[in-house]
Structure formats: structure tokens, C-alpha cells
Amino acid sequence: MSKASAARRFGGVSGLSRRSATRPPSATGPLLEAAGVSKAFGGVAAVDKVDLRVERGELLGLVGPNGAGKTTLFNCICGQLRQDSGTVTFDGVVLDGLPTYKRARLGIGRTYQRIEVYPELTVHEHLMVAERARRGDGRLWKDLCNRSASRPEELRHVDEVLELIGLREVQDTPVSALGLGLCRLVELARAVVCDPVLLVADEPSSGLDVNETAELSQVLRTLQSERGTAVLLVEHDLGMVGEVVDRAVVMDLGRIVAEGPFDEVMAFPEVRYAYLGVEG
């Protein structure tokens, strides 16, 4: 059985089929498509029949007031939650039922609203974990044969990302000693190391100051322009969203209430109602 056929046979998501933004897409059409996705907790519909498309290389903003269902939708896309109904397709692969790690191997990178970092590791070690996971060639037998040392190409790739995100100065600092804002950047860098086709960023500017937010916007644009990474951005800082996104989708009470160019969308009465609670 060839490597490629083995990958297909095991769902196309084994270590052999890791995708990245630098590799050609395997299918045409939208990169990510969520069709009729619903998720309820108890009797409350957090996400209600949502249809969402992210095109290749697009920077899409997903905004809405607290409790709109944005993070729940993210969790359904990334596999942390299983949707009650609907289908999520990524790059031609139906994701339903796939665990998070397989979705990540397909090329979906993610940052989290409540940060998820590894406090014991330094920033550099943090990224090395992601880099080794991206390459997918870590094996127990290699560990036991002392063949798991960091390789030059791994170190080079990590250094590039440290430079890109601006974490070079703190690369040897344990993550537990970093402030919240830097931890968000570490999360972002970790996702970027995996060379994602789609970066799902959940409130990445939360905890950052104005300058850092501006730098973050620049990083997101660089990812899009230089690496062709599509970005699905949830953010409460509407100023930042307006600056970076190509298109915006507004959610409220689990439903999409508007979508289109950011400035136009924000003028929609439904959006004003969602944010301000007043008509018009």
C-alpha cells in the first residue's frame, strides 16, 4: 500500500497527509463550509442552523455580542464540540466526527478565548512541540535510540515564526512567567508553526495593548498575504476587525444576522440592534 493510499484509507488524516498553506489545495470551492450547524446546551440553542463559508486565503471576521455563539461555532469547527446537526467541510473533507487533532493535521490552526498554553515550557520549547507535531515524525523508537534531537530545519522554522510574531526576546522565558498578552502571542505562534491553511483565532487581541494589537493585525495580514493562510477571526475589538478583514459575519443569539464588507455590515439595522439593543 502506498503512502498516499494509506492516508486515504485511514480517512486522509494520518500523519502522511498533513496539509499546510504552502502546499496546493486538494479541492476547489470554499476552504471551509459549515452548513446548517446547530448546537444546543440543555434547551438553549447556542448555535442555530448556521451556514458559514471561508474562502481560500480570505480574512473573515466573525463578530457579535457576548453569548452570540461565536466560540461555540469555533468549537464545532475545530472538533472540541460535536454539533447536534449540520455538516462542516474543510478543503473537501467532511469533518463530522473527526477528533480535534485530526482536524489540526488537516491544516486548521487555532487560538483560544481562554488561553491554552503549556506553563512548564519556555516559549521556544512551546513552538518546538508544535513543530514536531507538524512534521509528525516523532516516534518512541527514535526517542529510545536518542534520535529525537531538534534538527536544524526545525529550529530554523521555529526561529522564523518567533521573528514573525515578535517573540524572539522572550523565547527562553517559561510561559508561566509571561503576561496574558504575551501568552496570546505564544498561542498564535504555536498555531502558525503548524503552517495552517486556516487559522481560527478566538479573540487574539484580548489582553494586548494598542501597539501590540496593531502588530497583531500586521501579523495576520502577513500570514494572509505571504503564506496564503485564511483567517477566521473572532474579535470584540471592532476597530481591529475593520482594519484587517476582507469580509465580516455578524452573529447574534446563535444565528448569523448579517454578512458582507465590514463597513456595510456594521450599518445593518440587525447589527445595530444586536450590539446596541435599539432598532435602526
Binding site: 483560544y112 491554552e116 512548564e120 512541540v129 516523532g138 517559561p174
Partner: protein, 681 residues
């Protein structure tokens, strides 16, 4: 029907014993947020002191009850709260479990040290006379003890439900469990509320202990209480650690089911001899697997958890390069002296002691792997060692396979059992995982290890010299075994170090921080967990085989669950995150045990007490108390090593003043542990 009732009715008072303990466990969990592994030990303490006072000091029963239950039991609870559990952040589930286990191991061994190791038969009953039959139901004579137990269980249930549900104190207790700090913001003295909760639950433990003492042959045998407690854990888990009435009901049902099955099952069947004794543990496994209420046991509910200081770092990360170098040089020097001594002048009895220490060190390395590296608290490592040992012994016994080769097969079988355990525990972590592994250890203790075909029965399997030929491992000098043990331990240490340094170690380090984050970069968390379980099972299997070769006998008592618990306590004290910790713990344990053979008989259990006391510092020093003092000693001897400390937030290095200032680039140092709402010790 009459026959059924004849079996079922005695099951009611029997079930009430489970119910009483289960109510106590649920009350402690609901009112303090701690799953109190020490509950059985607290019950044992009151029972021991109660019977001791009545029999040795000839105190009246009422006065003994007053002192042992009304005074001593709540006082113990208050001490536990004040000096141990109050210092543990809400989020640190592992520390709570480790402390509970340390108390469970330490208290029963401390009592004989204080009061002497005499037999305490015929514990007096409290209300009604045990020798009087008050009524007969379906042919079963209900005596005063049965009546007392049923009556007290009913009263306790009503009183505890009323306290928790219908009083403002109960409301404050439930709120304080969620967040002490938030309750304090509402003007409630949370520390006092939690203290009252500890006093109440400890009173209940004491009452249960004294009440149930007449059922047990001797009040100075803690095992009966601990076994009863594990049965009660199954009952409490079935009630999701939440519902007191359900806990009581399930307790009674478990008692009735046990006695009905005991009555109907043929006494020669395997179900009678092997499955029935494990019924509570099987119930516990099913509860953990299928009760959705237990899925989120470790979820942090404290909205103010983010103000907790960062968790103290582990040994490997707080050693400065110079301390690390100093430690390495000291270790290599000691190793050289040790090897030369063992092969030249060491007296034979001490050589055997150290040989035994090397075997224990290999078993303890498995705890370094699973707990120190994998972040998973397994209470079944002794059991896995036993699986390896019995496999090798039986292969030698039946097939004539040399035990050194059998050791490898034993390691494989232990790894397979560990994998099964990992698969059963996939959705569990923290407390759930600890309970699952404890249930597995007890299942093996009660159902698998006693089988003639597995362990050769109570007496075990006496090893033959030919089984280890031509290595002559039973030579009186001990040298051949020493060489084998050193080779096996060295290979195990090298393997563990390579795994820690390699990809697997990196992934495990990351997993200890955030399993969600690890999954998000494409790492298969499930596979990593299975891998670390398998590795630790294999190492435990190797160590277990070494242990039985050293003792020339393999019997179930060498691998019971109590030793599994004690192993965890020893390794945690010595340092769970380093391989030296395992070796220090093992050698320290056997040396102290040997020294105690020269001391009076009542001090025999002191080694467990010492290690348990050390483990109580786990929350403050997760790197291990021995490791902490070792580092301080090195810094005192070699002050220059302070200068190149790595930066750390709020950890021991920073507190000891031996680190450079904490690096904070944006705002205050964060606490990823609390922010993510997960348990990371």
C-alpha cells in the same frame, strides 16, 4: 421468597455500613470540595482510640465515645483543614488527592507508633446490645448492633440532608466549595464555614468508625476500614458524589446485592470466589465509565481562580545549571562509591537491603513515568509490578523459562494490562483516574492475584534456583543479583531519560499544561496517554520481577493496593519528576525499614509515617520535599550556584531568593493554570 428475604435482610445493616461511609464521603466532597481519601483512616482512628480507651484505660463507654468521636474526630478534621487542605488552591486536584492518600497511608501506621501495637478485640456497641436479638425478620435474628447501625444511618442521613439543603450554613458550605474568595466578598467567613464542614464530616467519620467497630474482628486492623471505604467510594460515585439520599440507597442496595449473590451463587464457582469480593470495585468501574455526573469532577468552578499564584515549578526546571552540574557530579561520585562498596566491604544484610532498594527503584521509576512525566496519577503501579512478577514466575514454573527472559514477557503483559487500564480511563483525569486505577488495583487484589493459577495462592510461588540459572541470582553474597539489578535499573533509567528528552517527553510536558492546546496542534492525546501507561506498565513489570527474584518468592501480599498507595507517597516525597527521586525514595525506604528493625516493634510502621508526612508538602513542593531540601543544601554549600537561576514566576526558586527577577513583559504574571480552568500541579 422467604429464602430471598433471608439473604436480603442481613444485607440491609451490611449495606448501611457502606451507606454511612458514603454519606460521609459525599458530605465531605459537597461541603469542602475535597474527596477525602483519609475518611477511612479517620474512622479507624476514632475506633482505635475508642476501643483502646475502653479496654486499656477502662474508661466508660460514654466517656470514650465523647473523647474519640465528639472531641478527637472533629479536632482531626480541623487540623487537616487548617494545616493541609486550606493551603491547596481549589484548582489543584492532584495535590488534594495526594494529600488524602498520604493521610490514608500515614495515619493507620502512626497510631500503633503512638499507642502501641496491641490487639483490640470485642469492640463495645453503642446503643443496643450486640448479644440481644430484638426481632426476627424472615428467619434472620436482628441483633442490637444491626439495629443500631440502621437507626444511626437513618438519623445521620436526615441530619446531613437537613444541614446541607435547609440551613444557611449548608448553603454557605456549598458556596465556599465553589469559591471561598467569592463567598468572602459577600461578607461570609469562609474559613470558619469550611472548618465547620471539616469538623462535621470528621465527626461523621469518627461516629461511623466507632459504630462499625463491633463488626470487625479487631479494632487495630485498619485494612477493614480502608476496604469498606473503597466500597463506599463506589457507592458515592454511583450517586455522582452529589446526592446524599442516593448514596444511602445505593449503599444499602450494594449490601443487599452482595449478600443475596453470596447466598445464591454456588460456593465452588469462580463468581463466588473471585467476582463477588470485587463487586464494589466493579460497581466503581461502571460508575466511572457510565455515570455522566462524574465526567466533570475536576472542572474548576472558582471564578476567582485566576488570582491563584502560578503553580510551583518542577525540579528539572528550577535547578540552575550549576546546581544541576553539582547534583550530577554528586550522583556519579555516590554511584561509584556505592558500586565499589556493594562489591567489596558491604555487610551481607545491608547488601540485600540495597538490592531490594534497586528493585523498588525500578518499580518507582514507573511512577516517575506515569505521574511525573505523564501527569496522570495512577494508584495501580504495585499491581502492574505484580502482573509482571507473576507472569515471569509462572512462565518459569510451567515452561521452565529463565526469569530474566520472563521479565521481558512479564513487562509486556504488564504493559498490556496498563493499556487496558488506559483505555478504560480515556475520558477520566485527576480524581476519576485515581479512582479507576484504585478500583483496578483492588480488583486484582481481590479477584486475580489470589487465584492459584496466578500467584500460587496465599503462600505464593517459591522461586527455584534453576529458574534463574546460570546467573546464580540467589547467591548468599548478593553480588550476582546486584549486578543484574544495576544493569536493569540503569537501562530503565536511560530509557526514561531518553523518552523524557525525546518527542514523547516534550509532548507529555505539553499535555501536563493543556490537553486542549496539545490536541489543537495535531497531537493525538489519547495515543500519548496510552503510550505513557504502556511504558510505565512495562517498567513496573520489570521492577516487580526484580523484586520477587530478590525475595525468592512471589506472593500477592507483595503487590497489594496498600503498597501501591504507599509507593505513590514515597515517590512524591522523594521527587516524582526526576529519576533520582525514584532512586532516592526506594533506597531511603529500604534503609529506613532496615534501621527500624533495630527499633522497638511499635515503630515498625514509622517509615510510612515519615514518607506520608513528606508527601503532605506536595502542594507547596510538587518537586518533592527531598528534592527541595537537596537543592537548598546544595545552594548553602555552593552559593555561587544561585547566580544563574532560570526566571520563574512565584515558584520556590523565586521565593528562595535564588532566581533572577520574574519576567513580565505585558502586565502581571499570568496564571495559565487558573485561566484555563484545569488542574496542573
Amino acid at each position: 421468597m422467604e429464602q430471598f428475604l433471608g439473604f436480603a435482610i442481613p444485607g440491609v445493616p451490611y449495606g448501611c455500613t457502606y451507606a454511612l461511609f458514603a454519606i460521609g464521603l459525599v458530605l465531605t466532597y459537597q461541603a469542602t470540595g475535597v474527596f477525602n481519601f483519609a475518611f477511612g483512616a479517620q474512622a479507624f482512628t476514632s475506633a482505635y482510640v475508642f476501643v483502646y480507651m475502653v479496654q486499656d484505660w477502662h474508661f466508660p463507654v460514654w466517656a470514650s465515645f465523647l473523647l474519640s468521636v465528639v472531641v478527637l474526630a472533629p479536632a482531626l478534621g480541623l487540623i487537616f483543614n487548617r494545616f493541609i487542605f486550606r493551603r491547596i488552591p481549589n484548582t489543584n486536584t492532584t495535590a488534594k488527592i495526594v494529600m488524602g492518600i498520604a493521610l490514608l497511608v500515614g495515619i493507620p501506621t502512626l497510631l500503633p507508633v503512638i499507642l502501641g501495637n496491641q490487639n483490640l478485640y470485642n469492640a463495645p456497641t453503642l446503643i443496643f446490645s450486640q448479644s440481644t436479638v430484638y426481632l426476627t425478620l424472615a428467619g434472620y435474628p436482628v441483633n442490637g448492633q444491626d439495629l443500631t447501625v440502621v437507626l444511626v444511618t437513618a438519623v445521620v442521613l436526615v441530619a446531613v440532608v437537613a444541614l446541607i439543603r435547609y440551613t444557611s450554613l449548608g448553603l454557605q458550605m456549598r458556596a465556599a466549595v465553589e469559591s471561598r474568595r467569592l463567598v468572602q466578598l459577600n461578607g461570609v467567613n469562609a474559613d470558619r464555614v469550611v472548618s465547620v464542614a471539616w469538623a462535621a464530616s470528621s465527626f461523621l467519620a469518627g461516629l461511623s468508625g466507632v459504630l462499625l467497630a463491633p463488626y470487625f474482628p479487631q479494632a487495630n486492623q485498619s485494612q477493614a476500614y480502608i476496604t469498606l471505604m473503597v466500597g463506599a467510594i463506589a457507592v458515592a460515585a454511583s450517586a455522582s458524589l452529589r446526592s446524599l439520599p442516593l448514596a444511602a440507597l445505593f449503599g444499602i442496595l450494594l449490601g443487599v446485592a452482595s449478600l443475596v449473590l453470596q447466598g445464591y451463587l454456588p460456593t465452588q464457582s469462580i463468581f463466588y470466589s473471585s467476582i463477588l469480593p470485587s463487586l464494589p470495585f466493579i460497581v466503581l468501574v461502571f460508575a466511572l465509565l457510565f455515570n455522566p455526573g462524574l465526567k466533570k469532577l475536576d472542572d474548576n468552578k472558582d471564578p476567582l481562580a485566576s488570582v491563584d499564584p502560578p503553580a510551583p515549578p518542577r525540579a528539572a526546571t528550577i535547578r540552575t545549571p550549576r546546581v544541576q552540574r553539582f547534583t550530577q557530579i554528586a550522583w556519579y561520585s555516590l554511584l561509584a562509591v556505592f558500586i565499589v562498596s556493594m562489591l567489596t566491604w558491604m555487610p551481607r544484610n545491608w547488601e540485600n537491603v540495597f538490592n531490594s532498594g534497586l528493585a523498588f527503584a525500578t518499580v518507582f521509576l514507573s511512577i516517575t513515568l506515569i505521574t511525573g512525566m505523564g501527569g496522570q496519577l495512577s494508584l495501580a503501579q504495585g499491581t502492574l509490578a505484580g502482573v509482571g512478577a507473576f507472569t515471569a514466575a509462572q512462565l518459569a514454573n510451567h515452561l521452565g523459562l529463565n526469569m530474566v527472559f520472563g521479565m521481558l514477557i512479564g513487562a509486556g503483559v504488564a504493559a498490556v494490562v496498563a493499556i487496558l487500564l488506559a483505555v478504560l480511563s480515556l475520558r477520566l483525569k485527576g480524581l476519576g483516574l485515581a479512582l479507576m486505577t484504585l478500583a483496578a488495583a483492588l480488583f486484582f487484589d481481590s479477584s486475580i492475584f489470589p487465584l492459584q493459577s496466578v500467584s500460587g495462592g496465599q503462600g505464593g510461588i517459591n522461586l527455584q534456583e534453576s529458574w534463574v540459572a546460570p546467573l546464580n541470582l540467589f547467591a548468599p553474597s548478593g553480588h550476582p543479583f546486584f549486578v543484574l539489578a544495576m544493569v536493569v535499573l540503569s537501562l530503565s533509567v536511560i530509557a526514561v531519560l531518553l523518552v523524557r528528552k525525546g518527542t514523547t517527553g516534550r509532548f507529555l510536558s505539553a499535555m501536563r499544561g493543556s490537553e486542549v492546546g496539545v490536541g489543537g496542534v495535531g497531537i493525538n492525546v489519547t495515543w500519548q496517554r496510552i503510550l505513557v501507561f504502556a511504558l510505565s506498565g512495562a517498567v513496573a513489570g520489570v521492577g516487580g520481577t526484580l523484586l520477587v527474584i530478590n525475595q525468592q518468592n512471589a506472593n500477592p501480599a507483595q503487590f497489594n493496593y496498600q503498597l501501591s498507595l504507599a509507593f505513590v507517597v514515597i515517590v512524591v516525597t522523594a521527587g516524582v519528576s526526576t529519576v533520582e527521586g525514584a532512586i532516592q525514595g526506594a533506597l531511603g525506604f529500604v534503609v529506613i525499614e532496615q534501621l527500624l528493625t533495630y527499633a522497638p516493634a511499635r515503630l515498625q510502621g514509622l517509615s510510612f509515617v515519615l514518607f506520608a508526612a513528606g508527601a503532605l508538602a506536595y502542594a507547596a513542593h510538587p518537586e518533592g520535599l527531598v528534592e527541595y531540601f537537596k537543592r537548598r543544601t546544595i545552594l548553602a554549600l555552593y552559593p555561587a550556584a544561585r547566580s544563574d537561576a532560570r526566571p520563574r514566576a512565584g515558584g520556590p526558586a523565586a521565593r528562595a531568593g535564588d532566581a533572577t527577577p520574574v519576567v513580565t513583559t505585558t502586565g502581571a504574571p499570568m496564571n495559565p493554570t487558573a485561566a484555563a480552568g484545569a488542574d496542573r500541579e
